[in-house]
């Protein structure tokens, strides 16, 4: 009898476990794998072009700033040799402190944010966080979840325009922010930048929380869970062989030229 009871229990566990697994796989409409990276890059390019046409995000042309952002980007990419994305860093002219990710490895950074960062390492920490959203495919997951794959892959210019305006205000959930923070800490360590720069940058933002210029900064969208992110960033301990190498830029001059 005991054997029959055990057999029945296994049958029950098997049947219900199988139902759970099958329906878990069925209900993954936000799977970013549904859209190839190549397709994401083509769409991303169109989104960036449209976003930069918006007067609030007009392209900022300053070779010194472009080159500084390029240097920081290159430094971070040293830690990502196997990335499938070809990254583009665009600076837009806005006093708002803001940076956001557009599909296809495009990261848009405001002049306000560059002015707000006291060191190039702080800007590197923000960019590394945004690269985390790219590598984890958070933007595309969110778009697929909210709009569906059919709308997202549509080439209709009207749809692309609507998605572009959505992207400038896309926020992520807490799990995604934590994943991006954790990715950023590892990437900073891999590129010899102090990973806890992220924590000091968070603390700086915390003091400025009432600053209206921060209103659109999705980076801090998970407030009030913001403090746990500060704690997690501080708890990140780099490996024994870690040494820092500063980013060789005349940051004061760059900020003064904005």
């Amino acid at each position: 009898m005991q054997k029959a009871i055990l057999r029945d229990l296994l049958v029950l566990l098997g049947v219900f476990g199988l139902i759970w697994m099958l329906f878990s796989l069925f209900s993954y409409p936000e799977d970013p794998q549904l859209l190839s990276i190549q397709k994401e890059e083509v769409l991303g390019e169109a989104y960036v072009d449209l976003i930069l046409l918006n007067p609030l995000f007009r392209e900022y042309e300053n070779s010194m700033v472009d080159s500084a952002v390029g240097v920081i980007g290159e430094r971070l990419l040293e830690g990502l040799p196997d990335t499938e994305y070809s990254y583009h860093f665009e600076v837009f002219d806005s006093e708002m402190i803001n940076a956001f990710t557009v599909p296809g490895g495009n990261i848009l950074i405001s002049t306000g944010l560059i002015g707000f960062c006291d060191t190039p390492e702080e800007l590197a920490a923000v960019i590394a966080h945004e690269m985390g959203h790219v590598e984890e495919r958070h933007v595309i997951s969110r778009l697929i979840k909210e709009l569906g794959i059919e709308i997202l892959s549509s080439g209709d210019p009207y749809v692309i325009g609507e998605i572009s305006s959505l992207l400038t205000s896309t926020s992520f959930d807490r799990r995604q922010e934590e994943e991006a923070d954790s990715f950023a800490a590892e990437l900073l360590e891999a590129t010899s930048i102090e990973p806890r720069t992220l924590a000091s940058f968070f603390r700086k933002l915390e003091k400025e929380m009432d600053n209206e210029l921060l209103n659109q900064f999705a980076f801090i969208s998970t407030h009030p869970n913001f403090y746990s992110r500060i704690r997690d960033a501080l708890l990140y301990v780099p490996g024994d062989e870690f040494t820092t190498r500063s980013i060789d830029l005349n940051w004061e001059e760059i900020r003064a030229g904005l």
Partner: protein
């Protein structure tokens, strides 16, 4: 080889006993409606019903125990769903595929539990046994197994195996 008490036949069971056995299943439906926000309430009610009715003979004991045992995993699954939902809402987490899969599994478990309990109640009212998968055998084993006198295990000699 384990020995079991003989099973009573429908004509040997009083109507009052049949009704008490049926009540074990129907009582669950009533508490289920009440316990949706706090599924653990169902389980408390099931335990109370078992203790109140367990002196009414083995037939009632079997049905109340089967109902109670089958209630335990359903309650745990429902509690898990409520907890998972609250955590996701409070922490602003995504409702992932695993969550939706779990939701479907819990719904299936509740449906199966409901149908089996309904059939169990009807059969009990007729003085019949109805064995749920796993829980039926477990309840039968618990209630009808002949235990040694005084609760002590008795060593028995067995002939050699073939």
């Amino acid at each position: 080889m384990m020995d079991y008490h003989p099973l009573p036949q429908p004509d040997q069971i009083e109507t009052r006993i049949k009704e008490d056995a049926m009540g074990a299943y129907f009582m669950m439906f009533a508490t289920m409606a009440m316990g949706i926000p706090l599924p653990i309430l169902n389980l408390v009610a099931a335990i109370i019903y078992y203790y109140v009715n367990r002196d009414k003979g083995k037939f009632v004991q079997f049905h109340t125990l089967q109902s109670l045992y089958s209630q335990i995993p359903v309650t745990l699954l429902n509690s898990g769903l409520v907890a998972w939902t609250i955590v996701n809402l409070v922490k602003d987490l995504d409702f992932t595929g695993f969550y939706w899969g779990y939701l479907v599994m819990v719904a299936a478990a509740n449906l199966v539990y409901f149908v089996f309990s309904l059939v169990g109640a009807i059969r009990a009212r007729k003085g019949l046994f109805y064995y749920f998968l796993f829980f039926g055998k477990l309840a039968y084993y618990q209630v009808y197994r002949i235990r040694p006198e005084g609760g002590q295990s008795v060593m028995r000699n067995k002939p050699p195996g073939p």
